[in-house]
């Protein structure tokens, strides 16, 4: 059985290390905060100007001045600090954030990432994604292995406009985990019940 969204998030949470400052993207990456391993303390950054992001507020306690990068209402924690957008991206660009976990439309075997636009169709913008992938210590992508037509999203080369060039370190999909290495992708782990043949058949990129 391939992993579902929550299992993918739980697997991505295993990437977290004690003491890290981490940025989680919108979608499945947001769910990662539900699975932070026992004994691991991580501080979540929200690029709109916050370190120490807390859970959603209780009903009636929403504060319009307190949102995350997905514009959702959130809460603060005892260690929370606020700052402006210039400082927020100074810490991202300056390499102070240990890891970003992001969604993607396509990833290539050389670590190229595309997740911000589909020409002529979807024009929303890159938000902070280009800054994150260029600046943070480690980039982990969490996404479905194939699109809704069954085509691989793990490619030899991206077809969509790039968010960053050679920036992805690890890819976690519903079928398993891959690392970007010299010459292609290396399988690190297969989802429970997924065979290597199945994994390879769903992957367009070179597996070494």
């Amino acid at each position: 059985m391939p992993w579902d969204r929550n299992q993918m998030a739980a697997r991505a949470a295993q990437e977290l290390q004690d003491g890290w400052y981490v940025n989680l993207g919108i979608g499945i990456p947001t769910l990662v905060s539900n699975y932070i391993p026992e004994g691991v303390e991580v501080t979540l950054q929200s690029e709109n100007g916050m370190l120490g992001m807390g859970p959603f507020p209780y009903e009636g306690e929403e504060d319009p001045d307190l949102i995350n990068a997905g514009k959702q209402t959130i809460t603060e924690l005892p260690q929370t600090a606020y700052f402006d957008s210039a400082q927020s991206f100074a810490m991202i660009r300056g390499g102070k954030i240990a890891m970003a976990i992001l969604g993607a439309m396509e990833v290539a075997e050389n670590g190229d990432l595309a997740n911000w636009m589909i020409p002529g169709k979807l024009v929303k913008g890159m938000g902070g994604a280009m800054d994150l992938v260029a600046g943070v210590g480690r980039v982990v992508v969490v996404m479905d292995h194939t699109n809704k037509h069954g085509d691989s999203k793990v490619l030899k080369e991206c077809t969509l406009p790039l968010t960053g060039q050679k920036v992805v370190d690890r890819i976690i999909t519903n079928l398993g985990v891959m690392d970007v290495v010299e010459g292609g992708l290396k399988i690190v782990e297969l989802a429970d019940g997924v065979s290597e043949e199945e994994f390879r058949a769903s992957t367009q990129a070179t597996i070494v």
Partner: protein
Amino acid sequence: MKKVYGSAAEALDGVLQDGMLIAAGGFGLCGIPELLLEAIKESGVKDLTFASNNAGVDDFGIGILLQTKQVKKMISSYVGENAEFMRQYLSGELELEFNPQGTLAERMRAGGAGIPGFYTKTGVGTVIAEGKDHKDFNGETYIMEEGIFADLAIVKAWKADETGNLVFRKTARNFNAPAATCGKLCVVEVEEIVPTGSLDPDQIHLPGIYVHRIIKGEHEKRIEQRTVRKKEGA
């Protein structure tokens, strides 16, 4: 010199001109200068260029100026919440310059700090880098981005004193601080104006040197994505 004005319209009197570049604070609908945007709409000024992370939603924020076709160009990082924006952009009525979010913030900061250009790794190898100066430092490639020098900055803060010292609240600070610094003239709307001397000088987020005009008003502070959790046992 008196910085406190009676209304948004009064504070913008004699300031607005067709074709001007306006830097606006806010992230999504959080911390946007909603009263000043409304006054800009009422003024009828047009062909505006906005440097603003987002473009509001259809009926709030910069979105209200899109409906009246007062905006010629947006410099933004994300415009996914605004159907009217998408319609005008895809039909060629509206120009759009996408900037990575951190590049946009730094362009404002740099403009305010008298820095006309800077190098960044963000966007190297993407469409953002096309036509930009590339330079290697310590074996890594960077691209040059230019500081933003806006004709006007419009900003929302929580509190101001009468000299324009500002305090922001939580994540509503966002682009407001860098936007404020990069405008030739900066107009700020706040929820409360307190007597000079009542703010702790050590707790001021933006000193009044950047602030030229201040108004106080009632803010709607609309929430874009209301997300909550249930109380345990409830």
